[in-house]
Amino acid sequence: MLLTLRRARRPENPVDRGCATCPMAGSAAVHRHGLTTEGADYVVALAGNPNTGKSTVFNALTGLRQHVGNWPGKTVARAEGAFLAAGKKFKLVDLPGTYSLLSNSADEEVARDFILFGRPDVTVVVADATALERNLNLALQVLEITDRAVLALNLMDEAERKGIAVDHRALARDLGVPVVPMAARRGQGVRDLVDVVARMATGELACRPHRVGSFEPELEAAVQRVADALRQAHPGLPNARWVALRLLEGDPNVIREALAGTLGEGAHSQILSIEEVGKS
């Protein structure tokens, strides 16, 4: 399948005036998702499966400084809070609990869009240590999208009770991101998580997340062709390769956003049509 991406002019949105290299860029990205970054130095997203103690982690980090509302234009609830660390103010956004970023539900769309386009400074994935295999599905998907992530390995007390031992150091090596063992409901690991998040946000900690290797030659060629076309249409697009894969998969939401021109903030062009031009 060959994708033809043609461009058109789109009226400039004042919020989009920031381009990728300008300090405004981060603000523009989160403004679209209804957040204000006034007074905050960094934005941290909190992701994870349902029932992993994500809310407990959120409460432990933000205390009573929270605000609950909705994501703009959606009926999905959102909690925002803040915490201070290393002399900086961090805004924490609680994403809906999801099993994946690929399925077509409002919750998963919201979570994926924020991680991909909202460009949080750090994404924390909260995982249940007693169901690690299932939780890693979302974690690995997050790592495909961003390279600033931390795995909060929660419910370690529950794991111990069930006789499950997790080698979090080996896990960190395999995933390529920091892993923080926690039992948030007992307050354990919270300070460690704050420390790791702060160091990653400031750039002190960098990681090389595990990514799926290259695909079979035909698919790899197709992905690169589409990704190149996307980078031309949207120079500021984070992770064009990931978006290319979604287009090739026929993900209806990504296709809709590509046609609506909402794929990249700061972009002054729009993909007019996605055509299937024979088989390649």
Binding site: S103, N104, A131, E133
Partner: protein, 75 residues
């Protein structure tokens, strides 16, 4: 045979998912991937849904969903 044809206690492995689209992706996200071994758990009082044990966790599927998953017995 499909998952809907199994009994409590059966150990089977997934051969294929006879469905496409968002529902397929959802099942795969929950761990129902070809080659996965699972154990059939309890059935709810009215027969639907049924609990399936796989990958260290439990997932409940309705009969309509279970009928889409082709399985074979584990040897």
């Amino acid at each position: 045979m499909t998952l809907a044809d199994t009994q409590r206690g059966d150990r089977v492995s997934i051969v294929a998912l006879r469905i496409t689209g968002a529902e397929r992706r959802r099942l795969m996200d929950l761990g129902f991937v070809p080659g996965t071994e699972l154990r059939v758990g309890i059935r709810s009082p009215l027969g639907d849904p049924v609990a399936y044990h796989l990958r260290g966790s439990v997932v409940a599927l309705r009969a309509a969903q279970a009928a889409l998953i082709e399985v074979e017995p584990c040897s």
